[in-house]
């Protein structure tokens, strides 16, 4: 957990112009990813931290210094906060060379030794030899590297990245991920990365904060957020397709299981005592927890739940195939799993074929039922 004195902490609340209700913290050397769909306010939050936007209420501190406090009226300017910011479209000064861009990030661009420092920074981002080029003479990836060097030239207290990779092509992006991963080992400041790409967040971040409509819904290590979403909304936002309604029947501490009623059958899931027996719950299961079984195979371990169903319309995505399966049961429920193409072929999957699926109870995660805007969920159909 973040040391209360170091690192960045922010509480931001606002109603207009964009509703915000966020709590963030990021320790020194830690990478926090803000993830959410477009319009979720993540860029606005970043700009609040940068000082480019003043929220209505809240408090932002970094390394013990108060950057913003609505209560006391404190509001340090962007320059005084000393942040390094990397923008989605690079925002380089188009009329200055790469080196001059980097120099502007420094306190004393015209000072002795600054040029050498600037060259060193450009070398660190693999741009030596290109110092004198103007932005329009550089590729997208190279421009982004200049932007990073410029941000680092500032010796910032916090490094902020606003969807820095979304404007570059895939292969360049892969390269930049690697470089950022390499670079961050040396970075001792909090790093906040805004992205709409969950995979990117999973790859680069130590912690992930899921945002929707300006509200931070859940923060935690990426895999935890993805496999143990706190609510149905988070489950949806992290891309879980298998989200259903059920009812807790009983807990068995000795076996480490909880029994959940769903779709007319009983599922054995990982013990989660937070939900009392008899309570309605929502549950989620990642696609990796749904395994194909040919019809006549034997059942597996304690937490494996076997269901039968009919294959629906399959969608081939690259070298994986998304297989929706209509589960036979009390009501219609659609489970989704993805399998590598070769597996789909060797199992001879086709629409209309019946098969068995193994649901790994250890990956079934319980959440409060979704009584949100789409109305009280009263059925066991997928609500993802």
């Amino acid at each position: 957990m973040t040391d209360p004195v170091t690192g960045l902490r922010a509480t931001i609340r606002q109603v207009v112009p964009i509703p915000l209700d966020a709590d963030l913290s990021c320790g020194p050397g830690e990478v926090l990813a803000l993830v959410g769909p477009s319009g979720s306010g993540k860029s606005t939050l970043l700009r609040c931290i940068a000082g480019l936007h003043t929220p209505m209420e809240g408090r932002i501190e970094c390394d013990g210094r108060t950057w913003f406090d609505a209560g006391s009226g404190a509001n340090l300017s962007t320059a005084r906060r000393r942040i390094g910011m990397v923008f989605q479209h690079y925002a380089l000064f188009p009329h200055l060379s790469a080196l001059e861009n980097v120099l502007e990030g420094m306190d004393d661009p015209d000072g002795a030794g600054s040029r050498e420092r600037g060259r060193e920074l450009l070398r660190k981002v693999h741009l030596d030899g290109l110092e004198m080029r103007k932005p329009h003479q550089l590729s997208g990836g190279q421009q982004q590297r200049v932007a990073v060097a410029r941000a680092l030239a500032r010796e910032p207290h916090a490094l902020l990245l606003d969807e820095p990779f979304s404007a570059v092509d895939r292969s360049t992006r892969e390269k930049l991920y690697g470089e950022l991963a390499e670079l961050r080992r040396e970075l001792k400041m909090p790093v906040i990365l805004v992205t709409h790409d969950l995979e990117e967040a999973v790859m680069l971040a130590d912690r992930v904060s899921i945002l929707s409509r300006g509200k931070t819904l859940q923060t935690g290590p990426p895999l935890q957020v993805m496999e143990r979403p706190a609510t149905v909304e988070v489950a949806r936002l992290v891309g879980l397709r298998n989200v259903f309604e059920g009812r807790v029947l009983s807990h068995h501490r000795d076996r480490g299981t909880t029994v959940v009623e769903w779709n007319g059958r009983r599922l054995d899931v990982r013990l989660q005592e937070g939900f009392p027996a008899g309570a309605r719950v929502a549950w989620s299961l990642p696609a990796s927890g749904v395994l194909l079984m040919p019809r006549d195979r034997n059942a597996g371990g304690i937490l494996d739940n076997i269901v039968e169903g009919t294959v629906g319309k399959m969608v081939t995505l690259g070298n994986r195939v998304r297989v929706p399966v209509r589960v036979h049961g009390a009501t219609e429920a659609l489970l989704t799993t993805t399998v590598p193409r070769h597996l789909a072929e060797s199992y001879a999957l086709a629409e209309g074929k019946t098969l068995s699926l193994r649901l790994r109870g250890g990956q079934i995660h319980l959440m409060p039922p979704d009584d949100g805007p789409h109305g009280p969920a009263g059925d066991s159909r997928s609500i993802a």
């Binding site: 940068a50 480019l52 923008f87 000064f93 502007e104 941000a151």
Partner: protein, 223 residues
């Protein structure tokens, strides 16, 4: 060729241009970057001289600063001569009349700078002055130049306001445009012709320079 009148016109045009340069940069920049209540009203007021008949402006200026008005009397007490019928009066009228020509092109030029670039400058810790000097002006200078050229050319051609506010006093307020008018009335077509041709040439040079600088590919663009 009435050299006095030409000189007067050039002085008026230069003075207007030099005074409106900082005003235009300040206003253009503010309008480009700030959002405030009543901004639309301010922009409309600034654009007013574009559509206002010059005689209307001349009339209101006479009403506001003529010899019998409080403003006129205050000015006379300070400087010993009247504001109307003087070069300074022409300058005041010219400044008002040229505001949109100064502000609008500059505003467009500043607006054309991506907001992200300015924000990046702030993130780099640049002071406002350095931001102006190092980023905004170097990127917006074609618009600034274009505005200045327009102001210069437009002032050279001013007639109605200058006549009403200045009275066409030789040596003081008889600009070349008025001198041409006088020459025509005096049956001196040769004189009128020479001066008209001179003004035409200057105007063409001004417009040509302005387009050359702002046309895409004219000078090196920094997009």
């Amino acid at each position: 060729m009435d050299w006095t009148a030409l000189s007067l016109s050039l002085q008026l045009a230069s003075a207007t241009m030099l005074v409106l340069l900082p005003i235009g940069v300040w206003a253009g920049r503010k309008l480009a970057w700030s959002r405030f209540r009543g901004k639309a009203l301010v922009e409309a007021l600034l654009a007013l001289p574009l559509v206002l008949p010059p005689t209307v402006l001349g009339f209101y200026l006479l009403v506001a600063m003529g010899g019998a008005t409080p403003l006129g009397r205050w000015y006379e007490s300070l400087f010993g001569h009247q504001l109307t019928f003087s070069f300074q009066g022409l300058l005041v009228a010219s400044l008002i009349f040229n505001l949109p020509f100064a502000v609008q092109p500059m505003q467009r030029a500043f607006e054309a700078i991506a907001p992200e670039v300015r924000e990046a400058a702030l993130c780099c810790g640049m002071s406002r002055l350095r931001l102006l000097r190092r980023v905004e002006l170097p990127l917006a200078w074609p618009g600034v130049l274009s505005a200045m050229v327009l102001v210069f050319a437009h002032t050279l051609g001013e007639f109605g306001v200058v006549l009403m506010v200045g009275g066409g006093i030789p040596g003081k307020t008889r600009t070349i445009a008025i001198a041409i008018y006088d020459r025509v009335q005096a049956f001196d077509t040769a004189g009128a012709g020479i001066m008209s041709a001179t003004l035409l040439l200057i105007s063409m040079l001004a417009i040509g320079l302005s387009y050359l600088v702002t046309a895409p590919g004219g000078f090196r663009r920094h997009d």
